[in-house]
Structure formats: structure tokens, C-alpha cells
């Protein structure tokens, strides 16, 4: 193989790696407009989310806060939250959610999220492990629920699909995940599979 061909091959590989690491920024998030905490808006949020082929950071934060009861209609959840109300629409609501997530340890204190960028599965898995009390195995006990191990544990427990921590979730995948988290917490465990 000529050196030119090797160069082209290396450039193509580098491009592929770069593309794979680049997050997609979408035009808007479902939670930009459907962020109110009332029951009807919440149903609309889940319905719209189910039609998204990739979940944004704002949508993932909103979904997790709904799932773990951090968004309430009376606004009591906003106490102690810096910068705006959690259920505010648009950037103000997202900023408040990010601050809240940093307080809860879902993301690092110096970690920045872009609202409409596709969310990485890793931090979502970490947040679920922290809030749902998933302790995991030896690695998680030694190193804590870092995204990689948190995702491995949740994948093992069939709560999350098999993905790497940098990949994205579709709306249906996130709904399935939060549903399984709910089931795990409420004890709604399906019976062992039977042959029919």
C-alpha cells in the first residue's frame, strides 16, 4: 500500500473517530415548552418524547426529575435551587435543572451541559444509580457510580439498553428505562417468562 493510501486511511479513521465523538445538537428540546409540572403537561411531555429519535440533555434532565419526584405542581421542589424554577420553560428552566443535577451529583460540579445536545447515556445511568439506590458490584463499590460502571450495572439489571456511555438514547429507550426504574422501586416485577 502506498504511503498516500495509508495517509488517506488514517485521515478517514480520524474523521470517523471525530464524528463518533461529536454530539448532535438538535433544534429544540421537548422540555423547552412542555416543562410544567401538571399532570396533563407531563403526559404530553412523555408522548412527545416517545417520538424523538434522540434525547437531549434538557429532556433527559426533565425526565429524570419527573421520575424521581423532583418536579411538583406546587413548586416546592424549587426550594434551594439556584437560578430559576425547575419547571420554567426554556433556558431558565434548563439552567435550574443543571444546577440541581450538580447538587445531586448527577454531573460534575464543573461539568457543563448544552441543552439541546444529545444526552450521553453515561451521566443518565449515574443519575439513576444515585437516585434509585443501585449499588452495583465491586467496581461500583470501589470507584462509585462513575458513568461506565453505572451503565454496566443498569444494563446487567436490564434497566437500560446495551450501549456505551457516550452513546445517545432514543425517546422510547428513555421511557423504557424510567418505566423499569419505576417498576424496580414499586416492586412491579413481571413474572418469569413463560412459554405460550
Amino acid at each position: 500500500m502506498r504511503s498516500d493510501d495509508w495517509m488517506k486511511a488514517w485521515c478517514a479513521a480520524a474523521m470517523l473517530l471525530t464524528v463518533g465523538c461529536t454530539r448532535t445538537v438538535r433544534e429544540a428540546s421537548v422540555a423547552d415548552t412542555l416543562s410544567a409540572a401538571d399532570a396533563t403537561t407531563e403526559l404530553d411531555f412523555w408522548d412527545e418524547l416517545s417520538m424523538q429519535d434522540a434525547v437531549t440533555n434538557h429532556d433527559a434532565l426533565h425526565a429524570l426529575m419527573l421520575t424521581f419526584g423532583f418536579l411538583t405542581e406546587d413548586g416546592a421542589d424549587d426550594e434551594g435551587v439556584e437560578g430559576g424554577d425547575l419547571d420554567d420553560a426554556g433556558p431558565a428552566g434548563f439552567d435550574a435543572k443543571v444546577a440541581f443535577a450538580q447538587q445531586r451529583g448527577w454531573i460534575g460540579a464543573d461539568e457543563a451541559l448544552i441543552a439541546n445536545e444529545t444526552a450521553q447515556v453515561g451521566w443518565i445511568a449515574r443519575a439513576i444509580c444515585l437516585e434509585a439506590g443501585v449499588e452495583g458490584g465491586l467496581s461500583m463499590h470501589l470507584f462509585g457510580p462513575i458513568p461506565r460502571y453505572a451503565l454496566r450495572e443498569l444494563t446487567y439489571e436490564r434497566i437500560m439498553p446495551t450501549k456505551s456511555e457516550n452513546q445517545a438514547l432514543s425517546g422510547l429507550e428513555l421511557i423504557a428505562t424510567v418505566s423499569r426504574v419505576q417498576d424496580r422501586r414499586t416492586g412491579l416485577v413481571s413474572a418469569p417468562r413463560q412459554e405460550f
Binding site: 403526559l43 416517545s50 439498553p161 432514543s170 422510547l172 421511557i175 423504557a176 418505566s179 423499569r180 413463560q194
Partner: protein
């Protein structure tokens, strides 16, 4: 000692009051209820009904028993009656019901005839469940008990909401949390009950009863179609594992609609106010499946209470001022018991014969 009229009130209350184990005591000084004006309810006697303009035996059977087929039983109880020539003002007998453990059989339709069925909301739990008649209708309705849901409707539930539907004549579906379900088809064509349920995602329990006709029941998911052949199933479709089906050792549909306790069949229904003044569609849906025109040893009080429940439902409860909770003691008998579960429901007492017991559980 309670009067027979008070006994009747207790028995009626038990039909729509739900909440097992709720204790309470009936106030013997409470005003005694009045029977419905259109019929004379005689203690220890069958119900006497005065025919009115426009009455037919089928309409009377549907109103009083929730089942048009019981017109046969009415005709049998009135051998001198000509069903085709009913005389206004004539008094007929409405026979006592025997609620044995057999299911009613639904007659097939004539060849080529198709009847479009519908669904009834039996129970709603949690914060909010929504439905709309079709995808073309932009507005969603908050689901409430006794809502009539037409074919073509779309239903969705939230994180903590659960909705139970009675579909057509023989199927019950519990749509659990975070689900989106459509009802594209429910019909009877000749001797076949055809039902199609489309689950976009979520979790659902399904129970299909055998009512003497052929069942063509299918559930469609994005990745699989299930032809329901058994009686109780739990189905899940999500984006992680796709389609899954499970057996039903803890079938919540069974627990909500029918529960077998010591070989007695217990029917559970909802306690919200009916949208129909004269009849609870949910109860009527149940009655269409389980009431039978069989003769048998049923006490007059039992027959009266079932009849009046079907006719008046919660309106009767309100009129009678029976909104207190009653305790329920063990009831021995061969009839079906109704046990109502709900936040404000009551578990009412069954008495033995003319001496119902007071007190609570």
C-alpha cells in the same frame, strides 16, 4: 333488630360500595329508603312491575337486569303474558335472578350482520389517564369511570396512572404506567368477536373471557402480534427488550375485575358516579357477561338488591343517604358478591335472611 327495609338498604349499598375491610356501623335511626316508584317491591315476593307505554320485555330486561336476553326469563315468569301485545297498566312479575357460576352466553348475530362494539372504563388509578376518540381529534379527555370509549380511540397513561377497560363483551384490559394503546377494532360479526388492540409501548394486562362465541383477539406491538388464546396475560413492549409476554400468577386484571376467593366469584368495579342516570355502564358491562336467566334459590332481598343496583346504582345510594361505611362479614351463599374498591367506597354488610348483622369487620 333491623327491619326488612333496613336489610334491603344494606344489601343495595354493598353492590356499589367498595373497600374490603372497611368497618362501620349502620345507624338504625337513619331514614328508611323508599322503593322505586315504577315498581312495587314487596318483601319476600317477586318484584311487580307495571307496564308503561312503549315498554317491551327486552327493554325492561335491559333496564332491570342489564341483559336483554333476560326477556325470556320475564316471559317465563308470566305465562299468560303475550310479549307482542303488552297492555299498558298491566302488572307483571320480574323474576328473581340466579347468579350462579356460569357465564352468560351471547347469541351470534345473523349471517353477514356486524355490530360495532365499544369499551367502557371500569377503573382509573393514579394521577391522570387520557383518551381521545381518534387521531384526528386534537383534544384529549381525562379518563373517568364509565366513559364510553369508541373504536378508533387512543389511550395513554402517565407514570403512575392505570386504566382498566372492558372491551366489547368479553375482554378486560388493564393499561399500566407509561403506556400508549390504541383500540382500532372491536366488533361482533355473526358468531365471532373480533378485537384488535395496538400497543405502541408500555405494559398491559389482558383477560379474555369465553362467552360462547369465537374469539379473534389480537394485540399488535411494533415488533410482534399476539393472538390471545388464553385467559390472562401480561404484555410489555418497550425499546429495550421489544415484545414480552408473561403468565399471570398475579394478574391484576383478575384482581380488579374478578377475584376468586374460596370458590366464590367476586366482582370488583369502580365507585365513581355514573354518567348514566339509570344505569352504570360498567355494571351493565359486567351484568351482560355474568348474569343468567336461571331459576334458583335466591332470597328476595338478594334479587331485589341486584335488580335495583343495575337500575339505580349510585343515584339510589345518594337518594338513600347511604354514604357511610359498613363492615362486611362473611356471607355464605352461591351468589356472586360485589366488592367495591375505591378511596371513598364502603364495604357493605351482607345479612343472613331477615337478620343482617350490624357492626364492622
Amino acid at each position: 333488630m333491623m327491619t326488612p327495609r333496613s336489610t334491603l338498604c344494606c344489601l343495595i349499598c354493598s353492590a356499589v360500595c367498595l373497600a374490603p375491610g372497611v368497618a362501620g356501623v349502620q345507624d338504625p335511626a337513619a331514614p328508611q329508603p323508599q322503593p322505586p316508584a315504577e315498581a312495587e317491591v314487596l318483601n319476600d315476593q317477586p318484584i311487580k312491575y307495571t307496564l308503561r307505554e312503549g315498554d317491551t320485555l327486552e327493554a325492561i330486561a335491559e333496564k332491570w337486569y342489564g341483559n336483554r336476553r333476560l326477556a325470556e326469563a320475564i316471559a317465563a315468569a308470566n305465562p299468560d303474558l303475550d310479549p307482542a301485545n303488552l297492555v299498558v297498566g298491566a302488572v307483571i312479575i320480574l323474576p328473581r335472578l340466579d347468579l350462579g357460576d356460569q357465564r352468560v352466553r351471547i347469541d351470534p348475530l345473523p349471517e353477514g350482520e356486524v355490530k360495532i362494539l365499544q369499551a367502557v372504563v371500569m377503573k382509573v388509578e393514579g394521577s391522570l389517564a387520557l383518551w381521545r376518540p381518534s387521531a384526528q381529534v386534537p383534544d384529549w379527555n381525562a379518563a373517568a369511570v364509565n366513559d364510553i370509549i369508541p373504536v378508533g380511540a387512543e389511550i395513554r397513561t402517565g407514570r403512575d396512572s392505570i386504566i382498566t377497560l372492558r372491551i366489547g363483551m368479553n375482554a378486560s384490559v388493564l393499561i399500566d404506567r407509561n403506556s400508549r394503546v390504541d383500540l382500532p377494532e372491536a366488533s361482533q360479526a355473526g358468531g365471532v368477536l373480533k378485537t384488535r388492540v395496538a400497543m405502541r409501548y408500555g405494559l398491559m394486562d389482558v383477560k379474555v373471557d369465553h362467552v360462547g362465541l369465537s374469539n379473534d383477539f389480537e394485540i399488535k406491538t411494533p415488533s410482534a402480534t399476539l393472538a390471545v388464546k388464553g385467559t390472562g396475560w401480561r404484555l410489555v413492549w418497550d425499546a429495550i427488550d421489544g415484545f414480552q409476554a408473561f403468565g399471570v400468577p398475579t394478574n391484576r386484571v383478575r384482581a380488579i375485575e374478578i377475584e376468586y376467593i374460596n370458590a366464590l366469584k367476586v366482582a370488583l368495579t369502580a365507585d365513581d358516579a355514573s354518567t348514566d342516570h339509570h344505569q352504570l355502564p360498567a355494571l351493565a358491562a359486567f351484568a351482560q357477561t355474568y348474569f343468567l336467566p336461571l331459576a334458583g334459590a335466591v332470597t328476595p332481598d338478594e334479587a331485589e338488591f341486584f335488580t335495583m343496583v343495575l337500575t339505580h346504582g349510585r343515584d339510589l345510594l345518594r337518594d338513600l343517604g347511604l354514604d357511610e361505611s359498613f363492615g362486611r362479614e362473611g356471607f355464605t351463599g352461591t351468589i356472586e358478591q360485589f366488592e367495591h374498591r375505591g378511596g371513598s367506597g364502603c364495604g357493605c354488610q351482607f345479612g343472613g335472611g331477615d337478620n343482617p348483622k350490624g357492626g364492622g369487620n
